[in-house]
């Protein structure tokens, strides 16, 4: 529209008026644009500052604990057992979660007839994703600890975390498969590959950045989860916690933090200030672990992508 007006001769009175009108319109467009940029910039800055402030605050609060040696030991003010348990439960859960959700994603996206059944499965997964983790914790207690016979144990906890994270893992893995161009599948099949061969040799390698990102994002969620573990994994450690036995109860960094400042406050041999320092230290460690997980999710995903597409 404007281009047309510009090409018209502006010699006549009408032409001059139209040019003025147009200048006004354009000026308003620019003004609106400037305002929008300003507002968005302000929001971004505020949110970013807030995030950084939270992280810095927690790290500073945790500094006294982080700097004391006893914090890394097995004593009353140490978190060695909880660190071990946190990574143990993370690995145990991922070992079950990754193959199951990747297999389901491959089946649903690559093989299944895209009909009502697939829609129902997706609907169910999305609904499951919305269930509060405390509710899933109750379910996990009933299903795995009691009915499954595993008792309150690491295994019951891991299975509950599996239910909690399956929907997200499924969605992330399906998205990773979806991001592989159909051209590549056709190219492989046109060379006489079977469908599984095409998936194995072309689709999965191309989807790898997305798969790794999915794996690491769920790892972050598992590490940070507390509510689902309260009823399924317990709050206390047995005498010998540094074992791979999946059938013992144990706590993690998050559940220890919960107990320390929640139901267990004042009940231990620690003074109130010792408790506070310890809690702040655990919070700082959790933040650090999640930071590392998220940063590595990005950089590993990008690294693999570059590897695959490198010239």
């Amino acid at each position: 529209m404007s281009m047309q007006q510009m090409t018209q001769p502006a010699s006549s009175q009408a032409g001059i008026e139209r040019a003025q009108q147009q200048a006004q319109v354009v000026r308003r467009l620019h003004t609106n644009n400037t305002i929008a940029i300003g507002v968005l910039w302000a929001i971004t800055v505020i949110v970013t500052v807030l995030f950084i402030a939270i992280i810095v605050y927690l790290l500073i609060q945790g500094a006294p604990a982080l700097l004391s040696l006893g914090f890394y030991g097995t004593g009353a003010t140490g978190i060695a057992a909880e660190l071990f348990n946190t990574f143990y439960i993370l690995i145990l859960t991922e070992v079950i979660l990754f193959p199951i959700s990747l297999g389901a994603a491959i089946y649903l996206f690559e093989y299944a007839h895209q009909g009502p059944l697939v829609t129902i499965i997706h609907f169910a997964a999305e609904t499951l994703a919305g269930v509060p983790s405390i509710v899933l914790g109750l379910f996990g207690f009933a299903a795995f600890a009691v009915y499954g016979g595993f008792g309150i144990s690491r295994l019951a906890g891991a299975l509950t975390l599996l239910c909690l994270n399956f929907p997200q893992a499924l969605r992330l893995f399906e998205a990773a498969l979806e991001s592989v161009p159909g051209d590549l599948r056709e190219g492989s099949l046109a060379l006489g590959a079977s469908k599984w061969h095409a998936i194995r040799t072309v689709v999965l390698p191309s989807a790898l950045p997305g798969l790794v990102t999915g794996l690491i994002l769920t790892a972050g969620k598992i590490t940070g989860e507390a509510a689902a573990l309260l009823f399924t994994m317990g709050l206390f450690n047995p005498a010998n916690v540094f074992t791979l036995n999946p059938l013992i109860a144990s706590d993690t960094l998050t559940t220890r933090l919960y107990f320390l400042k929640g139901p267990g406050a004042g009940s231990s041999s620690l003074s109130f200030s010792q408790e506070s320092i310890l809690a702040a230290g655990i919070a700082a460690v959790l933040i650090l672990i999640l930071l590392i997980i998220n940063i590595s999710a990005r950089s590993i995903g990008r690294l693999i992508e570059r590897r695959l597409t490198a010239a």
Binding site: D183, G187, L191, G192, P205
Partner: protein
């Protein structure tokens, strides 16, 4: 049924003497025209181009039928995309498929290696006899079929792997390995006119190649498994004129050993590379019909149908 399709017997009778006479007449000017810049060559009318290009030299009126398609109907769900298509694909000849957008050329091409199987709710009727068996039959082993009938796509689709692994991909499926694998990879790259450009970087990613190189890589990849038939869906549409000419030369060379079916929107290209041409048209009354089929020269210079004439001379919308 009466679509004016020339069955083989017909044009062998009428076509052979005619083309034979014209090859001699049209050859001298052809040399001159070929040396002109690309732009000028492309602005020449299709009919002149046919006179100016080589392919009629390679026309074998007695070529055997490699794939015989009879009464093919194809449906996407309830929507018909091809109606009663019958034509022969001649051995060691280039068959060009032309027609306006959406007339079913790609659909037809993809029935020949059963690529449409990947699209849910599609249905194929009729038959395509390839080595005594019906391609469309349920019992056809599509994996084997696709090893025999290869395909090059419109957009180059190299795998995100090294150049070597791309070419070796189909061979490894067939468990070729070791020295033989290396030899075939090299030979395929030579055949696809890409060897000199990539021989020093075989282990770098294929995605680092230019568009034209990628397309030749895809051709080499298809050649490596030694198919009998090569299907090409607008293989040069994403390429510049120079790269296009390279691909065209390549197609002409390959036609000595391969049976090639090529879809193209470029009339000059059809005239330059093909010996036989099929013209498709889709109308409200008939979806995806083969209006005319015959030696390229006849289609471009003496087409029997007005629709064909209008289309090849650019009078079609």
């Amino acid at each position: 049924m009466e679509t004016g399709i020339n069955r083989p017997q017909k044009h062998q009778g009428s076509g052979a003497p005619l083309t034979g006479a014209q090859v001699g007449d049209a050859n001298p000017p052809s040399g001159e025209r070929m040396n002109e810049p690309v732009q000028q060559a492309q602005s020449a009318s299709p009919a002149e181009q046919v006179g100016g290009a080589d392919p009629r030299k390679n026309l074998k009126p007695d070529a055997q039928t490699k794939i015989d398609i009879q009464h093919l109907n194809f449906f996407y769900g309830s929507k018909q995309a091809l109606t009663d298509v019958s034509l022969p694909i001649r051995e060691h000849q280039v068959t060009a498929l032309i027609g306006p957008s959406g007339c079913g050329k790609s659909t037809f091409l993809r029935t020949l290696n059963r690529m449409n199987d990947l699209i849910p709710n599609t249905r194929t009727e009729g038959e395509a006899i390839f080595e005594g068996e019906n391609i469309y039959s349920k019992s056809t082993d599509v994996v084997l079929l696709r090893q025999r009938i290869g395909m090059v796509f419109q957009r180059p689709n190299p795998f995100p792997k090294s150049i070597f692994d791309n070419i070796a991909y189909g061979l490894r499926i067939q468990h070729t390995s070791g020295k033989q694998l290396h030899e075939i990879v090299e030979q395929s790259l030579v055949d696809a006119a890409l060897w000199d450009e990539v021989k020093d970087r075989l282990n770098t990613s294929a995605l680092g190649l230019s568009g034209g190189q990628q397309q030749r890589l895809c051709i080499a990849r298809a050649l490596a498994v030694k198919p009998d038939v090569l299907l090409m869906d607008e293989p040069a549409s994403a390429l510049d004129p120079i790269a296009t000419l390279k691909i065209e030369e390549l197609i002409t060379e390959l036609s000595a050993n391969y049976t090639i079916v090529i879809v193209t929107h470029n009339m000059q290209q059809a005239a330059r590379v093909s010996q036989y041409t099929g013209f498709f048209l889709s109308r409200e009354e008939y979806k995806g019909r083969l209006i005319e089929y015959g030696p390229t020269v006849e289609i471009f210079e003496h087409s029997k149908r007005k629709e064909t004439e209008d289309y090849v001379s650019g009078r079609f919308g």
